[in-house]
Amino acid sequence: MRMNEEMLNSLRTIGTGGVVVHLTTCSAEGIPNTVGERFVAAFGEEHIVIADMFAQKTKVNLNENPGGVITVAQPVKGRHWAFRGPCTILMWGEDENYDFHGVRAGDVLREWGDWASKEPPSEVPPDIRPPALCQRGVITLKVDEVYSWKPEESGRPVL
């Protein structure tokens, strides 16, 4: 599913006009894991990428249940979206021709595999800045569905 222009524009790090997004994954038994993620971008029009900085539970979950939801919450700009679809972590060392729902691992890793160099978190205050940024790979979600999380219409399909 293709995201619209406004959605694509929202998928940026805070320092470049975006917002922290939240990624929910689940174990095979259905135990959810929901965490805020700062390093986010659109990759093409159908994929969302997030830096994998040793997201431990996320990795375990995606290994056994490769799907997720990414919520973008910026109500003042009218952004109330939840993106759902297959999700994986493309890690350094992956065959660069590995195709994940239309994107090649090598292409994703070359563009976003060293996020801290490309978009350093210079605006983050010292007490919440990570002491070191080590990236293992890129969490990649193929958007199959978009619904609104806006309270009065939660769950309504957006696209």
């Binding site: 038994e29 959810p32 805020g36």
Partner: protein, 136 residues
């Protein structure tokens, strides 16, 4: 039940949470609720709209375990994740927190906090963050 610190309660109450739910087979649905109330040390209540309650009611019925991640500015300043069983009564979702994790990126990511004595958690918070809750 896990014991939440005053800092955790303050951030969660003011800003609410992204609430991760799933079917028993692990198909996820997340809703966002922008306010919460804390009843007791480890029980968090959310007032849902009818649409929100309707969206997650089947998930909660078959698989009550949920995950909470603080919303908005709290997602940056209050890097916690809370997990536990939830019950939906009318439009009120009540979550009994059983697990608390630090989600600050880096070496402390996924550090489990609820297994520590409360005074150790408070010391941990004081050593990592300059605030004791959201601005008044």
């Amino acid at each position: 039940m896990a014991t939440m610190t005053p800092r955790m309660k303050a951030w969660l109450e003011k800003f609410g949470a992204h609430i991760g739910t799933a079917t028993k087979q692990g198909y996820p649905t997340t809703i966002v609720v922008e306010q919460a109330s804390i009843t007791g040390d480890g029980v968090v209540a959310f007032n849902l709209t009818p649409a929100q309650a309707n969206q997650i009611k089947d998930n909660i019925a078959q698989n009550p375990y949920v995950a909470l991640a603080p919303h908005a500015i709290a997602s940056i300043r209050a890097a916690y994740q809370f997990k536990g069983p939830a019950a939906l009564s009318g439009n009120t979702l009540q979550v009994t927190v059983k697990e608390i994790y630090c989600t600050k990126p880096g070496p402390e990511a996924a550090l489990r906090l609820d297994v520590l004595p409360l005074e150790h958690i408070v010391k941990f918070e004081e050593s990592r963050w300059r605030d004791s809750g959201p601005p008044k």
